[in-house]
Symmetry: C2
């Protein structure tokens, strides 16, 4: 059962999904529900002995038809893989899967916003280690999308377009780019290694992208996430969120992917505590320019094939 | 050095305090900077052999004069104490300390909002175990205060007054009350054991409260925090935030204290991940009514003197 209540003091809906308390929690690999069902092995959620990418309904949904949807996107049948480590062709295919789900879910009359995301690492509450992401289809336009639309109004045009132009003109926080996509630590980052991966041209959603643009997006996302893993020579936890136009038909948006990594050092977390929760103001220990230097080096290092994979400290 | 930058996509200021990365991190008790300076012992931040309540400037400030302030409030010289465990007279005195700081900081021309809070427990990023809270004086009205003012406008009057009336009429989520103060799990709680402790009469701030009201507030806050510790028979982590009127002179507000506890079970945390960070929508596993039942029992159990302190499981 899922239901929603309006929180007056915060001016936002809260979603209650009370069956989720019992959901599968960090199972051992032999009980992983996202592994393939191998001959002679236990039945998993995926009744095939091997697969590329699988999407299915979340068994513990935060949103349910006809008031939205919740889906799981399994990136690979390799339990020990990662988004960063996918073959480039698989990462590109994932962009097409995201696009197809955005279009199909977004076309439903009960869906006003499609949120594609990945929670990676126990530090951000991952309950299954198998590489996967999630998709929530909202019956409303949620607060963060509302803030982005407000930014468009405040700036008198597409805010991500304007911010990208500023970042390119400055250049100091750009950490990676290709023909179609730019990755940077934003000027007013709220997380030490927050990174935005932004389409150069104005594209409201994945549905508006050409095939080459989707390939470029996959390349940039993989370069950034490989750089993350290189940064502290450990699997780097993050929240990855695809920001796109709402699907209620009336509003603007600019496809970009935001990463919110919880680490401020290799072993210390940034917490959302009194100031962030009670005032809504983020306190940052690290300047975005310094984060950008470290991430740029980590990405550049990793892109040298002769050095990649040797675990050399920066 | 502290500075601020405006985050366009979120429509909010971010504060950078880049010296904080090196701040004291979970020192052993013999190096606790909040302990008294005992004869023959090391010098701490507090040059007295004993004390009741001490306030001093944070050495690692998120806000600095003339653009705000950051202070530390040490509740007791007992390193192993807690807010819940303070003698009632000390807890009442703390209310007067809070009030004095609110008034003095709020009177400064550079200060528009005073945030009094406590981060308790490593789960919310506490870096010092010694019982203490913090005060940030903001050179702006931060987003959460803005949302509360927006709620007033939406409801056509004081939102906390209206919400308190609804909670009292319903009664199902009230967990404790006295002559002047009511504690409840709010109808649209965002955290499993979120609790609001609200003045019955309309009081914009601590400065408007009678002495009996401050005593009642201290009683209710201690009842709630003792109940928290009883709930899972462990020190219960929380973020405690005092919400009051901005001090820019122009705006309304209603004194209440909000607790955001990160636990959803005795050992499992609620994380802010893709949906919360990327959409701004909280997903909850627990209904507020169920949390209220558990907290009401924990508070009632603890208030029976013959049973208190024996560590009997609920």
């Amino acid at each position: 059962m899922s239901l929603r209540r309006f929180n007056e003091l915060r001016g936002e809906e809260v979603a209650y999904a009370v069956d989720r308390q019992d959901r599968t929690f960090l199972p051992a690999q032999e009980h992983c529900p996202l592994d393939p069902t191998r001959p002679g092995g236990p039945a998993t959620e995926i009744p095939f002995p091997a697969f590329e990418i699988v999407v299915f309904d979340n068994l513990f949904p935060s949103f349910e038809a006809p008031q939205g949807a919740a889906e799981v996107v399994v990136y690979t049948d390799d339990h020990h893989g990662s988004f960063a480590g996918l073959e480039p062709a698989r990462a590109q295919a994932l962009m097409w899967v995201w696009r197809q789900r955005y279009e199909e879910l977004g076309a439903r009359p009960d869906v006003e916003y499609v949120l594609i995301f990945e929670n990676r690492g126990v530090e951000v509450g991952t309950t299954l280690h198998h590489p996967h992401g999630q998709i929530y289809a909202f019956p409303l336009v949620p607060p963060v999308a509302g803030l982005e639309l407000a930014a468009d109004a405040r700036l008198g045009g597409c805010a991500p377009c304007a911010l990208l132009a500023r970042e390119l003109a400055d250049g100091e926080r750009v950490i990676h780019s290709n023909a179609d996509v730019v990755a940077y630590v934003p000027f007013a980052a709220r997380w030490p290694y927050e990174t935005h991966v932004v389409m150069r041209e104005h594209r409201a959603s994945l549905a508006e992208c050409a095939a080459e643009e989707l390939a470029s997006l996959a390349e940039a996302l993989q370069a950034v996430t490989r750089g993350f893993d290189r940064l502290f020579e450990r699997p780097f936890p993050y929240v990855m969120v695809v920001h796109q136009a709402p699907t209620d038909g009336a509003r603007a948006g600019h496809l970009h992917v935001e990463f919110y990594p919880p680490l401020r050092t290799a072993t210390k977390l940034k917490y959302l505590a009194g100031c962030e929760q009670g005032a809504g103001t983020f306190i940052m220990d690290v300047l975005p320019e310094d984060s950008a230097v470290a991430l740029r080096e980590a990405i550049a290092f990793d892109s040298q094939p002769s050095r990649a994979g040797h675990g050399v400290a920066l």
